[in-house]
């Protein structure tokens, strides 16, 4: 992946709205075939960055190029390179599933002859063959998302951009969607994903950029981030909400690092079970305890001092 051609390159990218800085001088590169994720809480600047890439928002300063082109100079061309799946579905409710795919291709200027066979392929991909003549309004949330993704693929884009692709979907619908996205990745489509879900980032992304308040906090593969910013395991203990804060100083001496959350304390160590055993020996008996592997949530907590979904 590292020797693949660079598709997107941003240098000192800034976006300000009046006094508010949404994106504060970020640099990044996305390579061909990569699945690149922007991870961060709401308001971190992920969607703003996506919109600048998609040529639907102008930047305040800095440089960005997509396939070597500046989106502010070559807007329509950039948009032809991209498939966009926005945060909120914007399907055409007056049209059927099939018509939505057809007309979207027409917006790019593609011919009927080209679009017709493409529709069959995409309906199959989105598992919506039986729904082709149904009006979009009648679809479930998961189906709408799959249709939005299929629609973005009509123009055979080199880069597919997904803004919070599974927000608001039930677990089953999320897994179907992940499976579809994974197939695209296997076909070599470059994916750009924003998410505030850790599991999603771990499932789909080769490389992640952790963002908070418009800045990049860290950038690496999911495993690399966990390795660099967290321990191998985490011990979660609860002593009851009033005692957590009292016991915290004692726990702090026993491991690399702790995080005191309102309802529980996270203790970072390479061997969680051993740490739990040690607690017992010191006469500290938590109400509940759990040993788990470190996750991106822990990385985020370490980097920003906050949980992802406030």
């Amino acid at each position: 992946m590292a020797n693949q051609e660079i598709l997107i390159e941003a240098k000192a990218l800034v976006k300000r709205y009046g006094d508010f800085t949404a994106v504060n001088g970020i640099d990044f590169q996305v390579r061909k075939g990569e699945s690149f994720g922007f991870l961060g809480p709401n308001g971190a600047g992920k969607s703003t960055t996506m919109r600048i890439i998609a040529a639907t928002l102008t930047r305040t300063s800095g440089d960005i190029s997509i396939l070597g082109k500046d989106p502010e100079k070559f807007g329509p061309e950039i948009k032809a390179h991209l498939g966009v799946v926005p945060q909120t579905d914007n399907l055409d409710n007056a049209l059927t599933v099939e018509e939505n795919l057809y007309i979207y291709g027409r917006y790019f200027g593609l011919s009927k002859r080209f679009i017709k066979p493409k529709i069959e392929e995409l309906l199959d991909f989105a598992q919506l063959v039986e729904k082709r003549d149904v009006k979009v309004e009648a679809l479930s949330g998961g189906m709408k998302r799959r249709l939005t993704i299929a629609r973005a693929l009509v123009s055979e884009p080199e880069i597919l951009m997904l803004d919070e692709p599974t927000t608001g979907l039930d677990p089953q619908a999320r897994h179907i969607l992940w499976d579809r996205l994974f197939r695209l990745k296997e076909q070599g489509v470059t994916l750009l994903i924003t998410t505030h879900y850790m599991d999603e980032a771990e499932q789909l992304c080769d490389r992640l950029m952790v963002m908070d308040k418009g800045s990049i906090m860290a950038e690496d593969s999911p495993a690399g981030l966990i390795k660099n910013y967290s321990t191998k395991e985490v011990l979660e203990v609860r002593f009851g909400s009033d005692r957590n804060a009292v016991i915290a100083p004692q726990l702090k001496e026993m491991c690399d690092r702790i995080e005191v959350l309102p309802d529980r304390i996270l203790m970072y160590a390479d061997d969680g079970e051993a740490l739990l055993h040690e607690l017992g020996q010191k006469g500290l008996h938590p109400l509940t305890s759990l040993v788990r592997r470190s996750s991106l949530e822990d990385v985020f907590l370490r980097l920003t001092g906050r949980t992802l979904i406030d």
């Binding site: 329509p76 055409d92 059927t96 123009s155």
Partner: protein
């Protein structure tokens, strides 16, 4: 030449006029409107045909019976139904265009986010503005033809100039739709949208559809003549009643200005809303 690659299609527009905001594909919006029309909107469109016909029956024949003949400026005398028919045609062209370009556009803008989806493709804001307005224009054309099919057999049209009422209705619809969409793109709430209705009703009642403006004092006549509906009614009436003069060109100019203003403002607003 048929290109079947979105990028080459976009590249072929390089260096053309307004390449960032116009791709020369406003007709695909008409294609969309036709599909939506087939699916459900046809009922609403059909009601726009009956509106002027019902007014004509009620006022033209009902009330007209009591009113009798109306003398024109050129010395001719016409029946009341003949007098109001052009006013009703102009009004229905206006209503169809306004309904399409205000409430329908507001819905697509705010709730369906259709323009957002269009502008994330290689379409430009001028394509979207022109495409949506052209649909209103097509509706104006259809209403005018439909209305003619009623008034000609009814004997309310007696001269050949009346055929010009059809392109006039298209021009009127174009003007109202452009300005209607421009205003709608500036609005954000339902309350603001209601203001459009509040402005439309008095304009309809007092702009001379049912009686000549000469009943008003001079200053009021001046104000009403500056309003687009009076301009529209005069344009159509001059043709249907055969009162053709070079003065008609002023009405044409009025609508041309409306169209230029409306299309430009709409494209600017769409750019501001979706492509900041």
């Amino acid at each position: 030449m048929i290109l079947d690659n979105a990028v080459s299609i976009a590249q072929s527009r390089r260096g053309r006029f307004a390449e960032g905001s116009y791709s020369g594909r406003s007709h695909v919006l008409l294609e969309r409107s036709l599909m939506a029309f087939r699916n459900s909107a046809w009922l609403a469109v059909l009601s726009g045909f009956f509106e002027p016909v019902l007014y004509l029956l009620s006022f033209g024949y009902g009330l007209g019976h009591l009113i009798g003949k109306i003398p024109l400026q050129n010395g001719h005398v016409v029946s009341y139904a003949m007098y109001i028919a052009p006013g009703l045609l102009a009004t229905s062209a206006m209503n169809g265009a306004i309904y399409d370009s205000t409430w329908n556009v507001f819905w697509k803008l705010k709730f369906d986010r259709i323009y957002q989806s269009m502008l994330q493709t290689s379409l430009g804001s001028v394509d979207v503005a022109l495409g949506e307005i052209s649909w209103a224009l097509l509706r104006g054309f259809a209403y005018a033809v439909g209305f003619m099919c009623v008034v000609v057999p009814a004997g309310l049209i007696t001269n050949w100039w009346a055929i010009m009422a059809i392109p006039s209705a298209v021009l009127i619809a174009f003007g109202f739709a452009s300005v209607g969409m421009a205003i709608t793109s500036c609005f954000t709430t339902f309350q603001q949208m209601d203001m459009i209705n509040i402005a439309m009703l008095p304009m309809f009642l007092f702009s001379g559809s049912f009686y000549p403006l000469t009943v008003y004092p001079g200053y009021l006549q001046g104000i009403l003549k500056a309003l687009p509906l009076w301009q529209a009614i005069s344009l159509v009436r001059d043709f249907t009643l055969g009162m053709v003069s070079w003065g008609i060109l002023w009405h044409v100019l009025y609508f041309t200005v409306m169209i230029c203003f409306g299309v430009t403002l709409t494209a600017k607003r769409l750019t501001k809303l979706f492509l900041r």
